[in-house]
């Protein structure tokens, strides 16, 4: 299998389409974007792939690099692992089973109901937390953007990340060797593909944290594959049962799903990137110590609010809720099997979370403090309008860039104007 050249991030600026407005730069919750020479530039070391820039761009200039359906041709045998979000994207009349069968019809050789594994992972979370009463709360690994937020910006909280891997990786690890044996194809010839609600999953595959290599070969966006599924839905005959999940696993599509399935008291679900950041700040301040498990998803209302979905997220949420009711809130997974697998490390995140905290202003602490003081001195000299015309998202960030030598005082349009008037 030819290793494709991979970018560090899934979100990239299309320089032809970018008009250099300030919208994405202003929307970035962690100030990772600048406008330089009339184009938006994303700081690769800072970006957590939350997708806020993608949502806000009116020019379609933020691209999300997902796997194309075409790419599947390079595999002899293909496996689809669809996010439970996929079940919420079609009308009432379409069952999860029909959607899984449709995936087969459009060409996947093997399709697995990931929602079912979500239920098992949910039980593994519970077992881990019962074994490890501290630290509290443990934070979910489900959203790659959250794991990156912690690794880059909240390294103090790294030991709160639950060392249990996400359902798609757990499943992919198992399936590759199993299928290779059963179907007599080499492991490299098998393409295990996630069907994803977001761009962040791509990054977690190309640049994983907590495992040296992802077990997945790519991720196709829900909005890319939606039409294909729709085309064949009519022809699908409900003659095979692929769905094993109850409402518990399907419920993972929306915020609150993991908390529903974990069956422990005092768990908290938070969604939306600003709220997630606020909660992480509270954790760092020592609050929320009574919470056992924190489900944190950067998209509004959870993965149904992902960047690569089709359905309006409120409609999808409603759909998820009806599916949960329809398939019941009692999981049918075997706790006995899960306990054995858990002990054998089947669910364990292969490696610890390696933090990449952002570099300080200077490696010499004295200089770093002086630079930090200098930032405070520069801020009141700037225009103070927070306009972004300088190419930085706000005045404070420009001051920072100036001190780091990445921008100049004259980049502030008000300073430039003032200098021009007094010439």
């Amino acid at each position: 299998m030819e290793q494709k050249k991979t970018k560090k991030h899934s979100l990239q600026i299309d320089l032809e389409k970018c008009v250099g407005c300030v919208l994405c730069m202003k929307a970035c919750p962690i100030q990772a974007i600048r406008v330089r020479n009339g184009k938006a530039v994303i700081d690769d070391d800072r970006c957590v792939d939350c997708g806020e820039c993608y949502r806000v761009c009116p020019h379609d200039a933020v691209r999300s690099q997902t796997t194309s359906f075409h790419d599947l041709k390079r595999f002899k045998y293909t496996v689809a692992l669809p996010s439970p979000v996929l079940y919420t994207q079609f009308g009432r009349e379409v069952s999860p089973n029909q959607i899984l069968l449709a995936l087969k019809k459009i060409g996947f050789d093997y399709v697995v109901d990931v929602a079912w594994i979500c239920e098992k992972v949910n039980a593994a979370y519970r077992l881990y937390i019962e074994d490890h009463p501290t630290p509290m709360p443990m934070i979910s690994t489900v959203c790659p953007a959250v794991v990156r937020l912690v690794a880059f910006l909240y390294p103090e909280l790294a030991d709160h990340i639950i060392p249990i891997d996400v359902p798609r990786e757990v499943l992919a690890r198992e399936l590759r060797s199993k299928i290779s044996r059963k179907k007599n194809v080499s492991e490299e010839e098998i393409g295990v593909i996630h069907i994803t609600s977001c761009a962040a999953k791509i990054v977690s595959i190309n640049n994983p944290i907590g495992l040296s290599k992802s077990a997945l070969d790519g991720a196709i966006a829900i909005n890319d594959i939606y039409g294909k599924i729709l085309d064949v839905l009519d022809e699908v005959e409900d003659d095979e049962i692929l769905q094993q999940s109850s409402g518990v696993g399907i419920g993972w599509a929306a915020s609150g799903g993991e908390v529903r399935g974990i069956e422990l008291h005092n768990c908290l679900a938070v969604s939306g990137v600003k709220d997630v950041i606020q909660i992480l700040d509270e954790l760092e301040a020592g609050k929320l110590k009574d919470i056992k498990y924190l489900e944190a998803l950067v998209c509004p209302d959870g993965c149904i609010g992902g960047t690569q979905v089709v359905e309006n997220r409120h409609v999808a949420k409603h759909r998820a809720e009806s599916l949960v009711k329809m398939y019941g809130e009692r999981s049918r997974v075997s706790l006995k099997v899960i306990k054995r697998q858990y002990r054998e490390g089947y669910y364990t995140l292969p490696e610890g979370i390696t933090c990449k905290p952002l570099p300080p202003l200077d490696i010499d602490p004295v200089k770093a403090l002086q630079k930090r003081q200098r930032i405070e001195e520069i801020i009141p000299l700037l225009g103070g309008k927070e306009c972004g015309a300088c190419g930085a998202p706000n005045c404070k960030t420009l001051a920072r860039d100036i001190v780091l030598g990445e921008a100049e005082m004259e980049d502030c349009v008000f300073i430039k104007l003032h200098t021009a008037e007094h010439k």
Partner: protein
């Protein structure tokens, strides 16, 4: 307050401003991250400044935090002009709280704030009186080890 810290900044804390409460401690924490302090130091400062800030919001009627940072220590002077703490020894006990029902509903009032400040600081001085309000001088050194995080 020691004379010339390499970095100094004052933050204002407003009375009963629960919506923005905790803002100063987030900013303080981000400053220390910019400077590259050890994560354990950052966490101790984050806890201590947050608890002190909340007490000023809830009991002190507003006030300010003065931050002074040197490579080997972080000083926080937290001041308010409120009613003062009548019995400091009692207030320092875990679980002692005079929080109102309203505060408790918002998750405060466990009586853990001052004990947590004490636990996370290397030096804590409390100067308080009914006339002049309350002043906390918190010192957290960055080289010491073995101080418990909480």
């Amino acid at each position: 307050m020691p004379g010339k810290a390499l970095f100094q900044k004052t933050f204002t804390i407003k009375k009963d401003d629960f919506a923005n409460a905790g803002e100063a401690s987030v900013q303080i924490k981000n400053i220390l991250k910019d400077v590259g302090f050890d994560s354990s130091v950052i966490r101790r400062v984050a806890v201590a400044s947050y608890e002190a800030e909340m007490n000023v919001v809830m009991y002190g009627g507003g006030g300010n935090v003065r931050l002074a940072v040197n490579p080997d220590n972080v000083m926080l002077v937290v001041e308010d002009k409120g009613p003062g703490i009548p019995d400091v020894d009692q207030a320092m006990q875990e679980g002692f709280s005079t929080a109102t029902d309203e505060m408790r509903e918002m998750g405060f009032g466990a009586g853990m704030g001052l004990p947590n400040i004490k636990r996370n600081s290397d030096d804590l001085k409390i100067i308080t009186s009914p006339d002049s309000g309350t002043r906390l001088e918190i010192c957290i050194r960055s080289s010491v080890s073995g101080t418990e995080e909480n």
